[in-house]
C-alpha cells in the first residue's frame, strides 16, 4: 500500500512539474529554429504563477459548466497521467480497462472543455468547440486502433503490461506494425495537442484558432488550470508514445539508481519527442481546416494497416 501511495504522489509531482517545462522547451526551440531568441524555458512556470494570482472576469451568461470545466480538464489529465508508466515500469494507478479508460478520460476532459467554450455564448468559443470536436472525431479512431495494435501484441490493454511486453527480447520495436502505429500515433499527438499542422498554438487570430478559441473567455485561476491541464495532457500523450514503443530504462524496482536512470532516460525520450514536434512544426505550415481530415485519414489508414499487419505480417 505504501509504495502505491508514494508512487501516486511522486508521479503526480512529476506530471505537475514537468508538463510546463515541456511546453516551454517546445516554444523556445521553435523560436531558436526560426533564429529568434524566444521566451526562456521556464517561462510557463511564471505564467502559471501569474494566472493563479490574478482575478477572474467571468461572462454573465456563463453557467456552472464554465466553472467546472477547468477542474474536470485538470483532474482527468492528471488521472490519465497516473495510468501511464513514466519512470517506473508499473504505473501507479490502473483503472479497469487500461487504455480504454485513458481514452474515455481524455474524451471527458475534451467534452467539458468544448462545453466550456460554448458556455459564455461567445462566437469564437463556439467556433473553437465545433472545430475541436471535428478533429477529435477523426483523431480518436486512429488513436484507438494504433494502441490496440500494441495491446494485441501484449495481450492486455493495461499500459504497464504493454510496456513490459515491449521490453522482452525480440524485435518488437522494429515490427512494421509498430512502426506504422508509431507514425499514426505521432500524427494523433499533433492533432490532440493542437500543434502545427493541425492548429497553431501561438496564433492570435481568432479565426484560425481551435484550442485557443475555447480558452478565450477564461482568465485567472481557471485559465491556469486549463493551461496546466493541456500541458499535462501533452506530456501524457508523449509519455505514451515514448514508453510504449521505446520502453528502455523503465525502472523495475524502487532502488534509487534504477529510479534515477529511469528518470534521466524518460527526460531524454520526452525531450527527443519534443524536438521532433518542433521540427515538424517548423517545417510545415498550418493546414486549412478542411484539409485536416486528409491528414487524419492518413493517420487512420496507417493505424488500420498497422492493426492488419499484426495478422498479415506474421
Amino acid at each position: 500500500m505504501k509504495p502505491d501511495l508514494l508512487a501516486i504522489i511522486l508521479q503526480t509531482a512529476l506530471l505537475l512539474l514537468l508538463a510546463p517545462l515541456v511546453s516551454g522547451c517546445i516554444k523556445n526551440w521553435k523560436a531558436r529554429l526560426q533564429t529568434r531568441r524566444g521566451p526562456r524555458i521556464t517561462q510557463p512556470y511564471y505564467d502559471l504563477a501569474k494566472f493563479l494570482r490574478k482575478d477572474m472576469v467571468i461572462s454573465e451568461h456563463a453557467s456552472w459548466v464554465f466553472s467546472a470545466a477547468p477542474y474536470v480538464v485538470f483532474v482527468t489529465s492528471l488521472l490519465v497521467g497516473l495510468m501511464v508508466p513514466m519512470v517506473t515500469s508499473q504505473a501507479p494507478l490502473s483503472l479497469f480497462g487500461g487504455v480504454l479508460a485513458i481514452i474515455g478520460l481524455l474524451a471527458l476532459g475534451r467534452f467539458f472543455l468544448a462545453l466550456g467554450g460554448l458556455d459564455p455564448a461567445s462566437t469564437f468559443g463556439g467556433m473553437g468547440s465545433s472545430r475541436e470536436m471535428t478533429i477529435a472525431a477523426m483523431a480518436e479512431p486512429a488513436l484507438m486502433l494504433a494502441i490496440f495494435t500494441v495491446a494485441i501484441t501484449a495481450g492486455s490493454t493495461d499500459l504497464s503490461r504493454m510496456a513490459a511486453d515491449m521490453q522482452s527480447p525480440g524485435w518488437k520495436l522494429l515490427n512494421p506494425a509498430h512502426l506504422l502505429a508509431f507514425i499514426a500515433l505521432f500524427i494523433v499527438l499533433l492533432a490532440e495537442t493542437g500543434r502545427v499542422p493541425v492548429d497553431n498554438p501561438a496564433t492570435h487570430l481568432e479565426l484560425t484558432m481551435i484550442h485557443e478559441a475555447m480558452l478565450l473567455e477564461y482568465s485567472g485561476r481557471y485559465l491556469a488550470l486549463l493551461e496546466w491541464g493541456s500541458a499535462i495532457k501533452q506530456l501524457v500523450l508523449m509519455a505514451i508514445l515514448a514508453n510504449i514503443f521505446l520502453p528502455t530504462g523503465l525502472a523495475a524496482d524502487w532502488s534509487l539508481p534504477s529510479l534515477g536512470l529511469g528518470l534521466v532516460l524518460f527526460l531524454v525520450k520526452i525531450l527527443g519527442l519534443s524536438l521532433a514536434v518542433v521540427v515538424v512544426e517548423t517545417a510545415n505550415a498550418k493546414l486549412r481546416l478542411f484539409r485536416v481530415p486528409d491528414l487524419l485519414s492518413a493517420a487512420f489508414v496507417l493505424a488500420t494497416l498497422s492493426l492488419l499487419s499484426m495478422f498479415l505480417f506474421q
Binding site: L174, P176, L180, A298, V301, L302, L308, S309
Partner: protein
C-alpha cells in the same frame, strides 16, 4: 537490446521493416499534393528498395543483386528524381489540382487495395525468400501506383506513379526469387525505364507548351 546481426533471422525482419516503409511512403504520395515532395518521396522509396536488395544480396550471398542494388541507388534514387525534378522546375508548376477522389477516400481505397493484395499474395507466402509478405507489399505498391495514375490529373504525377509501380515490380521479383530475374532482363528493364522517363519528359514539355498546363484533363478532345 540484441545486437542487430546476432539474431538469426535479422535479414527477413529488416526487409519486412523496409518494405513497410516503402508502403508508408506510397501512402504519403497518395495524400500529398506538392510535386517536388512527391519526387523526393519516390527517391526515398527507391532508397528503401535498394536497401532491401542489398540485404537480400548479403543474406543469400548473391553478388549480382548487389549490382542491382547499386543500379537502383544510382538510377532511381539520384538520376531519375534529379531528371524529374528538373522537369518540374522547367515547366514551373508546383502543385497538384484537386484529384478525382479526395485524399481521405483515396487513402481508404488504398488501404482496401493493400488488404486485397495481401489476400492475393497469401498462397505464395511459403515461397518467400525475403521477409514476410513482401510479395503482398509489392502487389500493393503496384495497385496503388496504378490507382495513382488514374486518380491524379497531372502528367508528372502520372509518371511518378508509373515509376512507383515499377518499384513494386522489382520488389516482387526480389521477394519471390532471392536473386531477382536474370541480369540481362533486369538491365533491359532499367534501360527501358530510363528511356521511358526521357520520352515522357519530352511529351510533358510538349504538353506544357501546347496546352499551357499539364492537367491531363485537358487532353480530352479525341472521343469515340
Amino acid at each position: 537490446m540484441n545486437t542487430i546481426t546476432d539474431t538469426p533471422d535479422w535479414a527477413p525482419r529488416v526487409i519486412t521493416l523496409l518494405a513497410a516503409g516503402m508502403l508508408v511512403v506510397q501512402f504519403l504520395m497518395v495524400a500529398q499534393r506538392m510535386l517536388i515532395t512527391n519526387v523526393r518521396l519516390f527517391a526515398i522509396q527507391s532508397l528503401l528498395l535498394a536497401g532491401i536488395a542489398a540485404v537480400t544480396a548479403w543474406s543469400h550471398d548473391n553478388p549480382g543483386v548487389y549490382f542491382m542494388a547499386g543500379l537502383t541507388l544510382a538510377g532511381k534514387v539520384f538520376a531519375l528524381p534529379w531528371f524529374v525534378a528538373r522537369l518540374v522546375r522547367k515547366i514551373r508548376i508546383e502543385k497538384e489540382m484537386q484529384p478525382w477522389i479526395n485524399p481521405p477516400t483515396a487513402m481508404l481505397l488504398c488501404g482496401g487495395f493493400t488488404l486485397l493484395s495481401y489476400l492475393v499474395a497469401r498462397p505464395f507466402a511459403t515461397a518467400e525468400t525475403a521477409g514476410a509478405n513482401t510479395f503482398g507489399v509489392s502487389i500493393a505498391l503496384m495497385l496503388i501506383g496504378f490507382f495513382l495514375m488514374i486518380n491524379r490529373q497531372q502528367a508528372v504525377t502520372q509518371v511518378l506513379a508509373l515509376l512507383c509501380a515499377e518499384n513494386g515490380l522489382f520488389l516482387a521479383a526480389i521477394s519471390l526469387t532471392a536473386h531477382g530475374m536474370p541480369l540481362v532482363v533486369e538491365l533491359g528493364i532499367f534501360f527501358d525505364l530510363f528511356v521511358a522517363v526521357m520520352v515522357l519528359g519530352i511529351l510533358v514539355y510538349r504538353i506544357r507548351a501546347t496546352f499551357a498546363s499539364i492537367d491531363v484533363e485537358r487532353l480530352n478532345q479525341l472521343k469515340g
